[in-house]
Structures are given as C-alpha cells and as structure tokens.
C-alpha cells in the first residue's frame, strides 16, 4: 500500500486528492468484476528494447520484465488484497509445496506434476521435471548474473522427477525470496545443453508464449493454452489472447501513445502534472499509484577530506529538503531509507525515516560544519548519473540546498555506465545515483555495507555492522528479524552515513478503462497479467 505523509505544499494537496480518487476508483472496478472475459489484446509500454532473452546474461529490467510473461519461478510472490505492495509472501508456483529442515539448512521442494513446457521447438511441450530446475540453478551458479542469489546454496539435487533438494552451508532466511527473485526463471534443460539459443528463443511454462520481438517495435505474445494456472473459479488462465510490449524511450512519445490509446497499460515514471493532463483527456482512466522499489542515493566518499568527518556527512544530510524535492520534482513518493521505503515491512517506520531524512535543519547543519572545521563550507565535485531529467533536477535541487549551508557542489554529469565505473573505482567525491530495484533488505545491506561488496562505493568496513548484517539472515522469526533490521538501519544512520538515501518516487500505473484485473507488482515480469482481461 502506498504510504504518504502530510504534505506542506499545494502540489502535494493536489496529489492527495488524486490519490483519493484512485482509491475510490479501485473498489468500483472490483465490484464491476462480473465474469472475466476471454480474448483480446493488451499493450504495455516499457522504456527500452530487450537486448536479448538470456536471463543468465543480464539483470536488465527490459529483459526480465519481458521474460516474466513466458517463464515461471519455483516460488512466486503472493499477490492479493491482503498483501502489501512491498511485502514478500512466498507462494507456490512451479513448486506446489516445500519443507525446511529445523536447522534451516535443507529445503525440499515438491514440484507440480501437471506442468508442460510451451509447445515451441525443440522442447515442444515436453513435461516439466526436476532436471530442469537443477540444470537452471547449476547454470546460474556457474556463470549467471543471478549467481549471487544462490551463494548460500551448497548442493542442488533431484531425488526424483518431481523433487528438488537444496542444502545450505549456513542458514539464510532470505533464500525463499531469492528463489522468487525476478531473475530466477526456470528454463528447460535444452537451454543449457545447446538445444536452443537462449539469446533469441524463449521457452517457458508461463501464461504467454513469446512469438516475436522486433527492436524498437514490439515484443509479441499469445496465450499459452497449456498454462498450469487457473483462477479461483477453476477457469484456465490467462484470459487474454495476446500481449504486446512496446519499447518507447521518450517520455513525451510515451504520453502521446498512451493518450491516443495505442498503449493500454502505462509502465514507467510519470509526473503528476502529466498524469493530470492525461486524465483530463482519457475518460475512465484507472489510476493506480505505488512507491518505487528503487530510490536515489548520494554516496559520500570518505577518501575526500571533508567527507571523512561524519559531522560533515550529517550536515549534508540535514541540509537536503527531500520532502519538498520529492513533491516538486517527482510529484510524490516517499523519503528514502537505508532500506528503501517500498519494502514496507523491512524499512524503518515512516515517522522515524522522516525524522532521520525528511526533516531539514540548515542551522544545525551549519553548526556541524563549523564543528568539523568547515565554517565557510567547501567545494566538491558532485558526480551525477544521468538517469533521466528528474535525476538531474534532484541534483540541481540538492545543489541549491547545499549552497544554503555554504557548500558548493559542482555538478559533473556522467552517463550510467561511467557513473557505475567511477563508483566501483571509488573515483568520486560525491556520487548521486539511482539504486537497483531491490526486493529484500538483505540486498540493500549486503551490497552497500559489507567490505568488498559491489555497491560499497564508500568503502565501509565496520566489523560490528558486518556481524549484524550476517546475523539477521539467520533469524527465522519475522518479528525478531524486523527488529534486527531496524536496529541495523538506525546504527547506519548514526554511525556510518556514507550513503545518504534520497527519494523513492511515486509510481503511477494508469491503465485504460477496458483493462480489468490489473495490479502493478514490485517484482518484474507483470505477474498479474495472467489475470488481466479486457472488456470491449
């Protein structure tokens, strides 16, 4: 569920009224839920082409969002009215059930018996077995980009055709969620023994069969008649005959396409102002809003003299008026945290996050600077990843906020690849970038704060913190784990503060009135699409 705060500006009041409208609209749509109709086509836009369809080759959103229509995982994210947007509830998918040993080291998965692969050569409708799971996971461990998600796994075995056993070297409560990760699609054995080219061919067990992909034009899908999923009434899923995913890079072009009905479901960033325009022109628009599971982050490199002093880092944190920034530039959303606000059960509670990151105090910031020996401020290179105009605008915003406390930020714009390289090399003074779409607190913590980790650009090496991060993985009890996670975040806010969270923006997911059953999901792959139907 979207969480919001008390907005001080008129723009935010406007946003709230929009939100109220949206909340009203949803139940209406739900009551109108007569019997779903079969047939029809739905078009969704994404921002880019899929470079290829090999799930092991990249973590690109454009790839995995497309693969999700055709492929399935062993375990999936639960969805439904009772489950919050950022909450992970493990749900059966290819595995219909599983057991976890008491020591937390052995996971036994029982696979569905009724699953067949899509009727695409060379797999051609063969039945799904445990060999496919083993082959997929082994390949991932050997060289897949998602290998890290299986790092806790020691052995993968298949006692019979419909059972898979994973053993862990140490307990890891995150494993189930890792298996449900958007990159963990199960492929047939043929994908790994040279039977077909993963780059170009997609054969899965999902609700739709990928039939074509033309760069810059569309990726097309048709219904998979042998899909194993059924709705509550026992009807065969999916309802739709066909789906098209169209890449439109340019925001304005995307708006035009959506406004003129060439796109049914909007996906991607959208400003509230633009949304208001669209609403004025498209009758009966469904407006669904969520908080992005990514957030902007500002890395302060302690290797740069002033940033080695935590008081300076605190001062910078206090100088930035994130709430207003999010309102004006992103048109809503939530203030960021050590763990992103989209992970509603794991991030710190709203009021605490707002107290830590959403309450600017320039006076205190100036005092801190003076204490640290910079009463007149200083100048630093503010390396800004060009990840869209809003990112740049946030950078400019922060620049003005910092100027208020006497710090001069010289903006240096770099593209994404250069920015990531500079980050990994530690070759920056301050770096402003957008975080990957993490779905689990452990991902945030282990990538940012463990020595040698991939996102530990600031070079954090705090044994106490490392021990805490390792410990939370072993805590089976959800409440206890949550407390531990909160402690870690508080510890980081107080003692580390090298990565300042920015803003998690409001995501608008408008859809045309003819689309029913559409629920945006945090995980990639449009999992609710199998239940979407259209009225004409």
């Amino acid at each position: 569920m979207t969480r919001h705060f008390t907005p001080p500006t008129r723009a935010a009041r406007f946003a709230r009224s929009l939100l109220a409208g949206a909340l009203l609209a949803l139940p209406l749509a739900a009551t109108a839920q007569e019997t779903p109709q079969y047939g029809g086509l739905v078009r969704i836009n994404v921002h880019a082409d899929a470079p290829n369809f090999d799930p092991l080759a990249s973590t690109e959103f454009a790839v995995h969002s497309r693969l999700g229509l055709a492929l399935s995982q062993l375990v999936a994210w639960g969805t439904g009215p009772d489950i919050a947007y950022g909450e992970f509830v493990p749900t059966p998918s290819l595995a219909e059930s599983w057991e976890i040993s008491d020591d937390g080291l052995t996971y036994t998965f029982h696979l569905r018996h009724d699953v067949v692969w899509q009727d695409v050569a060379p797999v051609s409708g063969r039945g799904f077995t445990s060999a496919d799971v083993v082959a997929t996971y082994e390949a991932m461990r050997a060289g897949g980009v998602q290998g890290g998600l299986l790092s806790a796994v020691d052995t993968i075995t298949a006692p019979d055709d419909y059972t898979v056993v994973l053993t862990l070297s140490s307990p890891n409560v995150v494993l189930l969620q890792n298996l449900a990760h958007q990159n963990m699609w199960i492929l047939p054995t043929e994908a790994f023994d040279g039977g077909y080219d993963r780059n170009t061919t997609v054969i899965g067990t999902g609700p739709f069969i990928l039939t074509g992909d033309e760069a810059g034009v569309a990726t097309t899908y048709v219904r998979n008649p042998t899909y194993f999923g059924h709705d509550a009434a026992g009807n065969q899923l999916p309802y739709l005959d066909a789906v098209e995913i169209t890449p439109i890079r340019d925001l304005n072009a995307r708006i035009i396409a959506f406004r003129s009905g060439q796109i049914d479901i909007w996906f991607g960033p959208l400003n509230l102002t633009q949304m208001a325009q669209i609403q004025a022109q498209v009758p009966g628009l469904q407006d669904i809003q969520t908080i992005s599971n990514t957030q902007t982050e500002m890395y302060l490199n302690p290797a740069f003299e002033p940033f080695s002093d935590i008081r300076v880092r605190q001062a910078i944190n206090m100088a930035i008026d994130r709430m207003a920034m999010g309102e004006v530039i992103r048109g809503g959303g939530a203030v960021g945290g050590v763990v992103g606000p989209a992970l509603s059960t794991q991030t710190l509670p709203d009021d605490e996050r707002i107290a830590l990151y959403g309450t600017p105090n320039p006076e205190r910031a100036r005092e801190l600077l003076a204490e640290a020996g910079y009463p007149d401020g200083f100048t630093f290179q503010f390396t800004l990843l060009n990840y869209g105009e809003e990112m740049v605008r946030e950078g400019e915003w922060i620049q003005q906020d910092l100027a208020d406390i006497g710090i001069t930020a010289e903006i240096n714009i770099v593209d994404r690849a250069a920015g990531m390289a500079l980050g990994r090399e530690g070759n920056f003074e301050a770096l402003y970038m957008v975080m990957s779409p993490f779905a689990e607190a452990d991902e945030y913590l282990s990538t940012h704060y463990i020595p040698g980790a991939i996102r530990n650009y600031a070079g954090v090496d705090d044994p106490e913190l490392t021990a805490m991060i390792e410990e939370q993985r072993t805590i089976g009890d959800p409440a206890a784990r949550q407390a531990m996670l909160w402690d870690i975040q508080r510890y980081i806010a107080e003692n580390v503060q090298t990565t300042l969270p920015g803003w998690a923006s409001l995501l608008l997911h408008p859809a045309h009135a003819r689309v029913h059953g559409w629920h945006p999901m945090m995980t990639q792959g449009f999992p609710s699409l199998r239940e979407v139907w259209v009225s004409e």
Partner: protein, 291 residues
C-alpha cells in the same frame, strides 16, 4: 621586424574594418542583421541588468508558471525564471560560438593556408585527415567526441571545433589555391619574397573576406550544434542554462508548458538568423565584383 608590411598598409587596417562595418550598415540586410545581432548581444551581455532573477535560483513555490508580468517567459519545473535562463543561455551559446569560430578560424585557417599554398605531400596528408574527419556527419563526430570527453562547455567547444575544421580547411584551401594561382603571387615570388611572407602578406589578407563569411556561418552552426549536443545530454551540463539543455528539459512538458520550448528555440533561431544574415551581407559587401 622585417616582415612588417609597409606603413600605409598598417595604418589602413582599422579603416578597413570600419569600412566593412559601414558597408554593412548601408545594406538593408546587413543593417537588419547588425541590429538583431546587437540586440541579442546586448540582451546576453547585460542579462544581469535586464533581469533581477538568478538563472539558477529555484523558486520552489513558483513551479511551471505560465508567462506573466513577474516571469516574462514563465518558470521551469523547479521554479527557475525562463527569461533569465534564456538570456544566460544565450550567453553560453554565444560564448561557445565565439570560441569555436575563433579556434576554427585559427586552426582551420592555418591548416587550409598551408595545405593550399604548399600543395604536394603536405596537402595530400592534410587532405586525407580532413577527409577522415569529414566522412562522419558533423553532429555524429561532435557527439562522439563530446560523449567521450564528457559534458562540459570546454568539451563542447573542442567537439564542435573539431567537427567544423574540415569544412573550414576545405574552403580556405581552395581559396588559397585560387589566390596562389594569381599573377600577383608569382610577381611577389619574382620579387624574392619568401613563402612565409607571401602567405602572410598576400595570402591571409585575400582570405579574410572568405574567412569572415565562413566564420559568421560557422558561428551559427556552432550555436546550433551546441544546442543539439546539449539536447542530447552531452553538451553544456546542468545547471548551466544552455538553450539546448532548456529544450531538452522542455520536451517533458510538451502540451503542458509550451513556453519551455518556444522561448529558448526562438532565441536560438534569432541568433542563428542574425549570424546567417551577417554572413550573407558580408558576402555581398566583400564581393570583389561589386566594388
């Protein structure tokens, strides 16, 4: 210095510039162009006097305001005054244009002069390099250089200059070849003047009209290229108000805040128009057939 031309040539130089200016003012086109360009220049140079708004200051309570008495050209998406940004953006455009033209004229002019005067192997090698640069569409070349160097005003100047040089070299070279073929060059050689002296005292003065015309056109092209590069995100970096950057920012609000693209574009067009007109007028004024 022995290379100094005879005194009356020296004393005539400033007169010649004033003469060109006077001749320009006599032409209706030249006059119009000078008036427009002067206006644009004054607007850019006197920006701090004309507008009280800081082009970078974000008035966070006045976001995306339509043009009004307070904000003549409206405000942008974080509350910056568009009028002020257009003026300061024009400054950057003109600065980039000026630097590009200066460097292009000096570097391109020199290379073209040498290539055209000496011919032979020197010319061959220079021509091949120029062709190499010329194989790529100039924007693609600029784009590539700018992308490689990263966005900054300095890098834009480098990228645009490099892309402009081939054209300049080609024109100066062919003009120099024409000049070299003239009898007055032969006469100077017969008098015993060295190649360097001939190039400087006969070559350069005769190339100046061509260079001036080319320069004013290059100026316009440089401004447009700067805008294009900034639009594509490899030009003048934010928060500097470049006209191209402003257009790029404005595209997100097409149909919502048309002032964000209308005014910067208009200013861009007017600047280029003035420079093109000056080029046209110079071409007329400096045409030897018209004297």
């Amino acid at each position: 210095m022995t290379l100094a031309p005879s005194p009356d040539v020296v004393e005539r130089r400033p007169n010649r510039f004033l003469g060109i200016l006077r001749a320009l003012l006599r032409e209706p086109i030249g006059c119009t162009a000078l008036v427009i360009l002067t206006t644009v220049l004054l607007l850019a140079l006197l920006a701090p006097l004309i507008t009280q708004y800081d082009p970078l200051f974000q008035d966070r309570r006045a976001v995306l305001k339509a043009p009004s008495l307070a904000h003549w050209f409206g405000t942008d998406d974080i509350g910056r005054d568009v009028f002020s940004r257009v003026l300061y953006g024009t400054r950057i455009s003109l600065l980039v244009g000026l630097l590009v033209v200066t460097f292009t004229m000096i570097i391109g002019g020199m290379i073209g002069l040498i290539s055209g005067y000496f011919g032979g192997w020197t010319d061959m090698i220079i021509q091949r390099i120029v062709e190499a640069l010329d194989t790529l569409p100039s924007l693609v070349l600029s784009l590539f250089i700018a992308a490689m160097l990263g966005p900054s005003v300095r890098n834009v100047v480098i990228a645009v200059t490099l892309a402009q040089i081939p054209r300049f070299v080609r024109v100066v070279r062919s003009e120099m070849i024409k000049v070299r073929a003239q009898d007055f060059i032969a006469a100077s050689r017969v008098i015993g003047a060295s190649s360097l002296r001939i190039m400087l005292t006969h070559g350069v003065p005769n190339l100046i009209p061509t260079m001036l015309v080319m320069g004013s056109l290059s100026f316009g092209i440089a401004i447009m290229t700067e805008a294009a590069l900034s639009f594509l995100g490899v030009g003048t970096p934010p928060p500097n108000p470049s006209l191209g950057t402003m257009l790029a920012q404005g595209t997100r609000f097409i149909g919502i805040a048309s002032w964000l693209i209308v005014f910067p574009g208009l200013m861009l067009t007017i600047s280029v128009l003035a420079l093109n007109l000056i080029g046209d007028a110079l071409r007329d004024v400096l045409d030897p057939r018209r004297r």
